[in-house]
């Protein structure tokens, strides 16, 4: 199992989410983060004084999948998150030792599986 941790532009999230859902990966978390990389900051002008903002808003997307499905997910992210400009973000892939579903206590790879559609509450 691998944890895919992607830092992307916030506006790239919706198409990624749609494609991952269609491909059977409904489980993910996001976090609104601020960070800096090669992208330059913004300048706020306020009543004659300036404030340089180097930390830009990004979206952190986390998703744990079976090891052989990592490339499918990363390709989906790359497809939508890449604009070709500085500031598109980065993807990290980390090993995961264990996965436990809280509701049932079951563990292992089956935790990562999607529910059958009729099981998902409306």
């Amino acid at each position: 199992m691998k944890l895919i941790m992607a830092y992307i532009r916030p506006e790239a999230f919706e198409p990624i989410r749609e494609d991952l859902l269609a491909a059977g990966f409904p489980s993910l978390s996001i976090d609104e983060v601020k960070g800096s990389g090669r992208q330059r900051g913004m300048t706020e002008r306020y009543r004659g004084s300036q404030l340089t903002i180097n930390l830009r808003p990004k979206l952190k997307l986390e998703c744990v999948v079976e090891s052989e499905q990592v490339s499918l997910v990363t390709e989906t992210i790359l497809r939508h998150a890449r604009t070709g400009d500085v500031g598109d973000g980065k993807i990290f892939v980390l090993p995961v030792e264990q996965a436990i579903r809280v509701r049932t206590g079951e563990s292992g790879q089956e935790v990562l599986q999607a529910h059958e559609s009729e099981e998902v509450p409306a």
Partner: protein
């Protein structure tokens, strides 16, 4: 419709029809009485509009503060307005209008007089000229005092101690403001001996407030982080430009009570002219400020546009009853330019979060001097104060009187205010500690946040901390824990709660 309701309706209509007959049956009111009633009605409407300016100051200051100090602004406005209300009635009004001494009045403490102006005129000489109910005069003058006091705190946001307000508010509303307003509004030496013109208080209300603000700021120092290690000013953006905009517009509305109400009467319709003059200057103030800030830094600063409106309004406050329509946009435009240049210059050395020193101080000085330039002969005569301005008379006489008034008001208010704030600083302290300033006045001084959701993590708020909701579908077969273990290896069918 129920019959009883119908009966009541018919009775009510009949009563309305009969009302004029009843009025005629009583003593016919004299024309003098009607004029008093008309004047009183207008002055009360104007006073209520000016009272609403407290909401304008609240939103303006809260919008220019950071979110961690948003609630403190509410407490401050409520406290100051309330202290001023009692202090001005008890002491202030008597010093301001209770007699025609050169320095201060002496009668009318804890005012309790007949509502007939001619009877009250022995205590309050102003009522010989302006025929309104004494209570209306007191209320109208009090809300002016409260506006002036609200201006004082503009420079002190986000770091002053709550207890410091209370002491200064009492002294300001009971003594400082009343004595100064006596000099210029109430028949004191500046008005009588020098003919200083200040129709609604560019100096009396705005410059005095800003002068108190300067004294407080000099003893208080800048907010932490305002000036970088290199000594250069840094932006500390206020948390809500929409609130700033709301505050500016409420103040603008309130000003239609402030200046037109200073006619202290409605009978000659002059108040409508004053309202138009006021609006022209405010509009020109916005335009002047926006053009200036755009020329200087190529952005249309939202706060500066608001400051422009306020500066235009402050600038026209003194001349509003003395100048013709054509002068108003010029006075407002100049005020709009002054406020932007003033904010940029002052910001290099002093930390004035809302720009009170420029919008009320510099624009107040400009407005007062503008009388010396633009006052028209007919209006100088109508108000029976001073002479026409330089552009009509070719004489610097009136301008000199205006300058003297500005200097006298500034020097006296600054010395007294500085002394009061100095004593507060040396005794109970003027400023919260650095740690408290970082945490924000809301939590430190008031024990609560203005915007709790921004500071208290959601899982630690309210119902969220009392455990997950019980699930009826699981509860029916036993506790959730045992249900989960017993099902860990079974099929997942049916586990999803409906």
């Amino acid at each position: 419709m129920r019959p009883s309701f119908l009966r009541a309706l018919v009775l009510a209509v009949l009563a309305l029809v009969a009302l004029p007959a009843v009025a005629v049956a009583q003593d016919k009111p004299s024309l003098t009485q009607t004029v008093v009633e008309l004047n009183t009605a207008w002055v009360m409407v104007a006073a209520i509009l000016v009272m609403f300016m407290q909401a304008g100051f609240a939103f303006l200051e809260i919008g220019f503060s950071r979110a961690k100090n948003a609630g403190a602004g509410v407490a401050k406005i409520l406290t100051n307005f309330s202290i001023a209300a009692i202090a001005y009635w008890a002491v202030g009004f008597a010093l301001a209008f209770g007699g025609s001494g050169l320095i201060a009045g002496t009668e009318g403490f804890f005012l309790d007089v007949s509502s007939d102006p001619t009877k009250a005129a022995s205590q309050i000489p102003l009522l010989e000229t302006y025929t309104i109910a004494p209570s209306a005069l007191l209320f109208f003058q009090f809300v002016f005092c409260a506006v002036s006091l609200a201006i004082v705190w503009g420079t002190t946001l986000e770091r002053i101690k709550y207890s410091a307000y209370i002491i200064y508010a009492i002294i300001f509303a009971a003594v400082i403001y009343p004595v100064l307003s006596h000099w210029i509004f109430g028949g004191g030496w500046l008005q009588v001996n020098f003919g200083m013109q200040d129709f609604a208080g560019s100096t009396v209300v705005h410059l005095i407030g800003a002068t108190g603000a300067l004294a407080a700021l000099l003893l208080l120092g800048p907010r932490r982080g305002k000036f970088g290690p290199d000594g250069r000013p840094r932006a500390i953006p206020g948390h809500s430009m929409p609130l700033v905009g709301l505050g500016v517009l409420i103040l603008w509305l309130g000003w239609f009570g402030f200046n037109p109400g200073s006619t202290l009467g409605a009978a000659d319709g002059r108040f409508a002219e004053v309202a138009l003059v006021t609006n022209l200057a405010a509009a020109a103030g916005v335009i002047g400020a926006v053009l200036t800030i755009y020329a200087l830094q190529r952005t249309i600063d939202i706060g500066m546009a608001g400051n422009g409106a306020i500066a235009g309004l402050v600038g026209i406050t003194a001349p509003s009853g003395y100048v013709e329509f054509w002068a108003a946009p010029i006075i407002g435009l100049v005020a709009g330019v002054i406020v932007v240049v003033g904010v940029l210059a002052i910001d290099k050395k002093l930390d004035d979060p809302v720009g009170a020193l420029s919008a009320h101080g510099l624009a107040g000085i400009w407005g007062t001097l503008a009388c010396g330039l633009f006052t028209s002969p007919r209006l100088a005569e109508l108000n029976a104060v001073g002479d026409p301005g330089l552009f009509y008379s070719g004489s610097f006489g009136q301008l000199g009187a205006q300058a003297l008034g500005v200097a006298a008001a500034f020097l006296v208010v600054f010395s007294v205010s500085f002394a009061v704030f100095y004593v507060i600083k040396k005794t109970i302290g003027l400023r919260v500690t650095a740690e408290q300033e970082d945490a924000g006045l809301d939590i430190v001084e008031h024990g609560m946040y203005g915007y709790p959701e921004q500071f208290i993590p959601l899982p630690e708020m309210g119902a969220a901390s009392s455990g997950p909701l019980a699930r009826p579908s699981l509860g029916a077969t036993g506790s959730p824990a045992t249900a989960a273990t017993s099902r860990s290896t079974t099929s997942r069918t049916g586990e999803v709660p409906a």
